[in-house]
Amino acid sequence: MFVYEKQMQYPIKIKRTNPQLAKLIISQYGGPDGELGASLRYLSQRYTMPVKELKATLTDIGVEELNHLEMIGTIVYQLTKDLSQEEIKKAGFDAYFVDHTTGVYPSSAAGVPFTAAYIQSKGDPITDLHEDMAAEQKARTTYDNILRFCDDYDVKDPIRFLRAREIVHYQRFGENLRILTDKLDSKNYYQFNPSFDKKCFKKCK
């Protein structure tokens, strides 16, 4: 069950609009390594996880990604608020504006709409955890790339927070991979799918 808290995970208060920057940052809303994909990936993968630590981590990180989705939506919203038609045209925001006005729509920086093809739920925890660790690093690189185009502290500050969270999540997923393999036969971790072939767990389970 989910309960909404009427508060941003990290405060965002942008004083200067910048539709050019919004066009780039929206990629972390609905792009290939964005927060929408992240939350759906973890919240979908968790059902078949065979170990309690993994279920907890995927649930908690999946929920945190929804906070981050809200943060990115807020940054895009505040960067495109109260724009004049001239500003929209000058910033090259007109193509987005034609389809969405200033509504926040999940798409990549190149305008590709969000697709579930960005994520995988493979039903094998070793495979899924590797995908999750890669996903955190891909998101971290995307934030690094976004930071190259940020010259406004009001935007940089929350983006840096989000970048740091990718690294923490990567660390937690790495620990989960170790917790899982510790319970398996070290002679060949990949002989079985730990979600499907239950017999692969050592007797100490």
């Binding site: 309960v3 909404y4 808290e5 009427k6 995970q9 630590e53 907890a56 908690d60 809200e70 937690r172």
Partner: protein, 84 residues
């Protein structure tokens, strides 16, 4: 920053610390020091939230004022206080 924003930032700080500790505890469920830290921060957070909600309205859906549903009031988290 307005008084409301200052209070909200402090609440957010403790909520975040709790979130991050919980994530750590997911993979270190026997770490007694962190379990104590979680408890400590939670007890600091509780009166801060009560104080805030008393002054500015609910952070999670609830009805304290019996005349009006204050939950719908601006600002929402994506809005600046001045615009709302």
């Amino acid at each position: 920053m307005t008084q409301r924003e200052i209070m909200l930032k402090k609440i957010g700080m403790y909520k975040f610390a709790l979130k991050d500790i919980a994530l750590y505890l997911d993979t270190h469920p026997h770490d007694e020091m962190m379990l104590r830290k979680y408890d400590e921060y939670e007890s600091i957070l509780k009166p801060l939230v009560e104080d805030f909600e008393e002054k500015y309205g609910p952070l999670t859906v609830s009805v304290r004022n019996k005349n009006r549903f204050l939950w719908i009031n601006n600002p929402w988290p994506w809005e600046n206080e001045e615009d709302a």
